[in-house]
Symmetry: C2
Subunit: 327 residues, 2 copies
């Protein structure tokens, strides 16, 4: 199957519903935001051996690609509208792999209500790689920024924190974290918090998603907002499996706080606005304050030492130097 057949058979159906995609038969798409709206645009790439395991099923790779990008839209309060794909397939994986990838993309395009409007497929003799440009919409001027948190704002997070990092720590570093299968789904198939993100428009003062780790991404909010933040480790929401792992090995709290790949949201909220999020999954875990940097304290108020503030995506490729420049 050559590129034109691949596009016509596997990818063109994903453009249905967007007239400006021209069924992927043209050089480009023509698109404008809905009246009174801005486009919100983001582009993240994933590489085999760095951001996903080379033996991951193609459907899961496509879903991860889609979701890490939709997570950025969620953090900005945007609703997904369209996407463009660049795919560097490994010919060794064969046409079934491409079909599986397209099926995974099709499922998420349908699930999240967007369309594929263009892109490019090539092959590479190196690790497979994929880049997605995701396009969302917000009412004009309402994109939630990283900048804008205020001293006294609550630090809030969606969902639970740390499962993806515990999976990586257990699978790659042999840390005892309990049953790996309890964490695997969170690593492989992140859930972009699109509904919560849309609710945060006009409410949260700042927001980003947690891809590099809670401490690092909260650090981005602090840096862009010119503030510091303190996190009460005991208030960070954990899944039952993560709570059990940390109870058995308290040192794992560092993995929870600094590990990446959660794709939850971290945001700044005025204390009086917390009640407005009732039932939508926001948990207050700390405060923004004057200063710089992120610190964490234990339930007794003592500072927690975090070995590193960031996180590098690396699932253990064949060459350690192939580790990521960025994420």
């Amino acid at each position: 199957m050559d590129e034109f057949e691949t596009i016509a058979r596997l990818f063109a159906p994903l453009s249905r519903g967007e007239p400006g995609a021209f069924g992927l038969t043209d050089d480009a798409a023509a698109l404008a935001p809905a009246p009174g709206c801005d486009f919100v645009l983001t582009k993240d790439a994933i590489v085999a051996g760095v951001h996903f395991f080379a033996d991951d099923p193609p459907e899961a790779v496509a879903a991860k690609l889609m979701r890490v990008n939709l997570s950025d839209l969620a953090a900005k309060g945007a609703r997904p509208r369209a996407c463009l794909l660049a795919a560097g397939f490994s010919p060794a994986a064969g046409p079934a792999w491409v079909e599986g990838f397209a099926a995974g993309l099709a499922a998420d395009v349908a699930a999240f209500g967007l369309t594929l409007i263009g892109g490019d497929t090539v092959s590479t003799s190196g690790p497979a790689w994929f880049s997605l440009t995701a396009i969302g919409e917000v009412p004009t001027g309402t994109m939630i920024r990283r900048a804008g948190a205020r001293a006294g704002d609550l630090v809030c997070v969606s969902g639970t924190i740390g499962d993806a990092a515990l999976y990586v720590a257990g699978r790659l570093k042999g840390r005892a974290v309990g049953d790996l299968s309890a964490f695997e789904g969170r690593y492989r198939l992140p859930t972009p918090r699109l509904d919560l993100g849309a609710s945060l428009r006009g409410l949260a003062h700042a927001c980003c998603d947690i891809s590099d780790g809670l401490v690092a991404d909260l650090g981005h909010l602090c840096e862009q907002s010119g503030l510091a933040a303190v996190v009460e480790a005991g208030r960070v929401p954990l899944s039952a499996a993560a709570a059990a792992a940390v109870a058995a090995d308290p040192g794992l709290i560092e993995t929870v706080l600094t590990g990446g790949d959660d794709y939850e949201l971290v945001f700044a909220l005025a204390p009086e606005d917390l009640a407005k999020l009732a039932g939508q999954g926001g948990t207050a875990i700390g405060r923004f304050e004057q200063g710089q940097g992120v610190r964490a304290i234990d339930p007794a108020g003592s500072p927690l030492t975090l070995g590193r503030g960031g996180w590098r995506h690396d699932v253990g490729g064949p060459d350690p130097k192939s580790g990521v420049v960025g994420s």
Copy 2:
């Protein structure tokens, strides 16, 4: 230099002039077309050993990435506005390579009047790869399509045809084409025909750029327009060097007509409109007619046999199987 330093020092300056890029300090950009305009969006990727030579200077790789995408915008009649970059750098190439790449991108961003509004940088143990999402603007509803050519329209092209293909044939296949240096620049540094493309809005009935070869890309116009086309080979405009090469080896006309990488425009024009393009570089080389497919005739009117109607980008990577799925 980690990803954040790379972005802040090398790439953030390329976002100047676009407030919605937020200086590349946020998860996403917020952008709307100018009032009364659509965005035109395209995304092409290039891979070392397939679309460029691994030892090409990084500035030239960045320029090629930018220009193959801007060529798509030109073909659609769009003016460049913004772009997003995904870069899979080879760590072995070192930081100077990244700096050179950023410098090449900066030069073209300035030359073509657009901004960089987002993206992602990663590293890969395989061949370096780059994907650009280019965003242009056209007055609402005026994007020039591949569909729309009419029987009786002239087949027109911009510039001259075949130099890039003659360079590849000479460098990789050892064909005698004369002085390779006469062709090299056209291969390495395509010129997107943005002014001509903008002039074609409301005038050309259909247009695309010539990346896969004149015959193949004209074939795309025919297919989408439901027509056939005949090309008079003797009227195809050639550079002096290409004309000399074809005079010395008439068989090279096949390379000229089917080779890729010219990044000129091929378009459909009513005969009475040709004069309106005076001085802008359009040359009539044939006609659209009822039927299917593209055929070429020599100056005596005899059919030319073309060994293949298409072109596959392949600059001779280490593994023949790494040749392209698509372009």
